[in-house]
Each structure stands twice: as C-alpha cells, then as structure tokens.
Point group: C4
C-alpha cells in the first residue's frame, strides 16, 4: 500500500497542532506592554512544544522517506502517535496557564513520554514490515534515542514533586538530543541512490 | 478524473476534525489534579470519537486505494460523508459535557448512523462507477459490515431512553467490528500487483 | 509552473472553512432536547454554507483538472477567491445567530456575490494563460452560470430589505444551478484522453 | 531528500493561519449594521495580514519550485519560518482589537521583521545546498528585497512611538514591494525547461 495518505494525514494533523497551540495565547484586550508581558509563560511553553512537534515531524519525515510501503498495522500505529501528539496543545496550554507548577509539569512529561512510546511502536511496526536488512532497518538501527528519552521522561515526571524546573530542564535536554535529525537515515538514503 | 484531490480534501477535513475534538477539553484554570480529573468524561468521549474517525479514515484510505477513478457523483457522496463526519466533534462534545446522559447519547448514535449510511452511499457510488467485477467490486463484496452497523446503531438509539450506558457499549462494539481494516482490500491489491 | 501546491493550499483552506463553520454550533451546556432545538437556525445556515463551499471545491477541482499550468496571476486570483471563501463562516455564523434577518441576509448575499466574482476572475486569468482553444477554453465556454449567479445575488441583496426569506430562496436557487458540476469539463477531459 | 512533505506541511500551516485570522472577527450577537461596522479595524488588519501571508506562500511556492532537494537544515529553517508566520494571527488580532495603537503596531512590525529574517535564513540554507550556480542560485540572486524589507521594518518599529499610522504605511509599502512574485524565478524555470 502507498504511504502518501499516511504522510498527508500526519502533515495535516501536525500543521493544525502547531497552529492550535498558538491559540492558547489569548489576544490581550488592552494595548499596553504590561498585559503582553503576562503572556510569557504561555509563549515559553509554546516555543518548547513547537520545537517538540517540529522534532516529531522532522523524524517522521526522515523515517517515512526510508519506508517503501505501509499496512493496516502501520496506519493504526501512526494514528496512535497522532492521538498523543494531539494532546500536546492541551498539556502545553495547562503548563503555560499555571506558570510551570508541579502537576501541569507532570502531565506535560507524561504526554511527551507517551509520544515517545507511540513513536517507538511505529518504528517497530515499520521494521516488522520492512525487515531488519532493509534500508529502513539499517538506517534506524537500535533506536537507543527512543529508549533513552522514555527513561529521562520517567525520571522527570517523578522529579516534578520535588523540583518542577529541573523536570523542565530534562524536557529541554531530550529535545536537544533529538534536534539533530537522524543523519544515519539521510546518509543511507544518499548511499542507496 | 483523478482521485488525488478527493483524498487530499478528506485528509484535511479528517485531520481538522481530530484536532478540533481535542479543543473540547478546555484547559483548567487551576493547576490541581482535581480539576483535571473532572475532564475524564470529555476525554473518554474524545478517545471513542478519535477511534471512530480513525476507522473512517483507515477504511476510506483502503477503499480509495482500490479505486481507479472518480466522477461528480463520487465527489458529492464523499462531501456528504465529510458533512456527517464534521458533526462528530459537536456530538462528541455534547456527550462529554453531559456525562453520557440519554439525549446526548442518542444524538451521538444518530450522527454515527448517518456516517455509516453516508459511507455506504459512497461505496455504492464507487461500485456503480467501477463495476462489480473490478478490483474494488471484488474487494468490497457485500458490505455486510456497513449494513450490520446501521442496524446496531438504530437499536442503540432506541435503547438510550432505557439504558444509555448499554448504547455506549453498542457504539464501542461497532467500533470493534471495524477496527480491523478491510483485509480483503489489502489482499486483493497485493494479488493484483 | 506546477499546479499542485495551488490545489493543496485551496484544499487546506476549504477543509478548514468547512470545519470552522461547524464550530459556530456551540455545544449546549445542558442535556435536554429543547436547548439542542434552539440551534436549528445555526444548523440550517451550516448546511447551506457547507453546500456552497462544496460547490466551489467541486468546480475548482473540475476546472483545475483541465488546467495544464499556472502563473503568478493565477496564484493571486486563487488567493483572492480563498479570501472571500474565508469570510463565508463569519457571514454564515451571523446569519444563523440572528435567525435570518435582513442585514445578516444581505451580508451573506454580498459574500456569496464576491465569491462568484472572484471565481470568474480566476476563470478569466486561467483562460488568458491557456488560450480559448485549449481544453480548458473549450470546456468552460461562455461561463453564463457565473454571470447569472452574480445578477441573482445582486437582486437578492436588494430584496433583503423587503423580504429576507425570498433572498434565502434565491441563494438556494443559485446553489441548485451549480450543484451539478460542469459536465462539459468532465466530458471534454474524457474526450481528450 | 524529497521536498514534497516540506511543501505539504507549509501549505497546511499557512492554510490554517489564514483561516484562524478570520476567527478574530467575532460574530456580533445583534443583527444591526452598527455592530458590524465596529469590526472594521479587525477586518482591515485581517486584509493586511492575509496579503502578507499570501505573499509568503507565493514566494515560498516560487522558491521551492526552483529547489531540487532539501536536507535537515532546510527542514528546520522552514519550521523556523512557520513559527514566526504562526504568530501573525496573534499580532494581527492585537492590532485590530486596539485600533492600530503604538504597542500593537510595534509588535506587528516585529513579527513581520522576524518573518523576513526567517525567510532570508531559509533562502541562505537552500542556496548553501544547491550552490550559487544552480537554477535557484541564479534565480534568487542577491535577495535585495529581503534585506530592504528588514531595514524598513526596523525603521517602522521605531516610528511607532511617534506616528503609528506612518508605520502602518511602511508595512503596506513593503507588501507592495513583494506583491509581485519573483518573476526572475518564473523566467529562469521557463528558460531551463
């Protein structure tokens, strides 16, 4: 089966997630700078979430480029990922509205962790379809980034009861790990061509 | 006529429906767990509706893959389906807001039933264009799933006056029937290639 | 230049317009049938607007299928059409909120008329690029439907001060004229192939 | 790597930005003309922002048409541009809500300037990938428009403390400079073919 519509639906959902998050920044009713400044936590959480969604799109793009075909299981694994991605604006909005306190920070971490798990499931489903010796299999390898992220998220969620800002630091750190797109995929594709 | 834009518009509308439903979960203004917990009926109805919309997208994807071409009638049958799909967020929101009481449950069932009918009409329009001996015709066959769903929905709508939670059980059951994408289409396409 | 992205942007905007209109139907906070019934004018205006947007998408789809290429002028003529289409949810919402009274009815007609004019401009821009003897030129012909619609809209707008419901009848009538997609284009394309 | 999904995500985000901006025009609850007229500043800022987003889409379309391939750096440069584009509805809404006073005017200019800078970064990233002698390199040339725009925006932002309407005039002027899509790209592509 063709992968075109899976990519199209994912692009659509991700495009809307990005734009919905910005709606959490309500336009102030007055025109002074003070009311604009009050939006900084919402803006900060928007930047972080934008980067996270951007990372997922970027890696999704790289991985699907190496994929040759999809099946029903891949479609559902992808929908499962989109489900957790769709909860990012909610978690991000709660985080920004409450100035990064413990519970919103924990929920944000939980949603990020579920996203990481959903992405790993998608990777596994794709690998089962293509085989380990395929272009995709060789490009992805052991997926240590995915496993490490889940562990860091779990630690960060526990830390929210003690030090929410430390959790935020960990979320930023994981984003840093992923910010560089999987160069292996890029190089394997070039190699192949 | 090419089927590309019909798929693109459907993907777009479905992507937005998914993301709009999540907007029904309003970000709580406080940061405690209690206010978050109050959202569970909205979240539950979101999960159910997400799965339903996912099922429609999945089956639409499978069916259109087997289709070779479209005409004006197919375009309108598809728009008709999108119309009823676009009402899912409204029905889902009403259901979640009122904790699964009778009337919202009946409306939800009605919208699901109209979706099932609209999908059947789309199937019929496509079959008329391709013929019963086409790849599409052999892959779809008698569409007993579609007919059975409509009957179950009708029963569930009547049951809402007596036992709304039983109706919910029936909606979940129908989702279960459809969750497995039409393997026949997948196998016929593989066969053809 | 390729027409792909013009189609993609148009599909995206139209998909969102459809889904935004449904947001005008606010989920009632109670679960009784009475509050649901109060939404009928909003629902009615949603149906009418959905059909209108569907007509535009359908005809846009038919016309762009016959087009071979686009240029800067076509891109802007298309954006101009999307601008007026994007005002349909606003006009539709005002109409539904105020139970089809005079001013909202006039604004609705005005937006529809501007859409018709914008569509005609797009047709002219495309014809200038392709020439009158092209597939597109022969398929579109004199565009009498477009001209007739503008005249009917103008009459309907004037009529709103006297009889708003008559204006609504005229809007429905124009939708009827357009509901059948341009069969000429379909037949010319088939002929060509 | 293929450029298809970069274009698809950009089209999706831009389509949603356009349609979200129109949501800033809240449907009046009464049906008289007076309340509709009160919306004129919001409508005016919508028109200006629509034209700006249209310009970006148009030039993005032209530039990507000349591009042959993308890499990770281009994907992120593009996401960076989408980030600043996604803030246009917010800045536009604040401008319209407050009738074009100083601070909203300055923020609007700042967002436009950041968009211009992000677009220049995207241009540079693409040129680095394709080389100066490529079709893209010859078509874009020195990008004087991009540099001039940033300077005018900076002047306009400073002017907001003195004469906000003059700033608005400068924003309109920059739009005028860009309204004509890069004909050089169009002519170079035609030449190439």
């Amino acid at each position: 089966m063709h992968k075109g519509r899976l990519e199209a639906l994912s692009d659509g959902v991700i495009a809307i997630i990005i734009t919905i998050m910005v709606l959490e920044m309500k336009v102030p009713h007055t025109d002074n700078l003070h009311d604009l400044k009050e939006l900084w936590p919402v803006f900060l959480s928007y930047i972080l979430s934008f980067i996270y969604v951007g990372i997922y799109w970027n890696n999704h793009h790289h991985m699907m480029q190496a994929a040759r075909t999809v099946n029903g299981a891949v479609l559902w694994a992808n929908l499962h990922l989109l489900f957790w991605l769709s909860l990012v604006p909610f978690a991000s909005g709660w985080l920004g509205e409450n100035h990064f306190t413990a519970w919103p920070m924990a929920l944000y971490g939980f949603v990020l962790m579920m996203n990481a798990i959903a992405y790993s499931i998608l990777v596994i489903t794709l690998l089962r379809l293509h085989g380990k010796d395929s272009l995709l299999g060789r490009a992805i390898g052991k997926d240590w980034k995915g496993r490490l992220s889940v562990i860091i998220y779990a630690v960060a969620i526990v830390l929210t009861c003690v030090a929410p800002w430390l959790s935020l630091g960990l979320y930023v750190a994981v984003a840093g790990i992923w910010l560089v797109p999987d160069r292996r995929i890029e190089s394997k594709i070039t190699e192949q061509d």
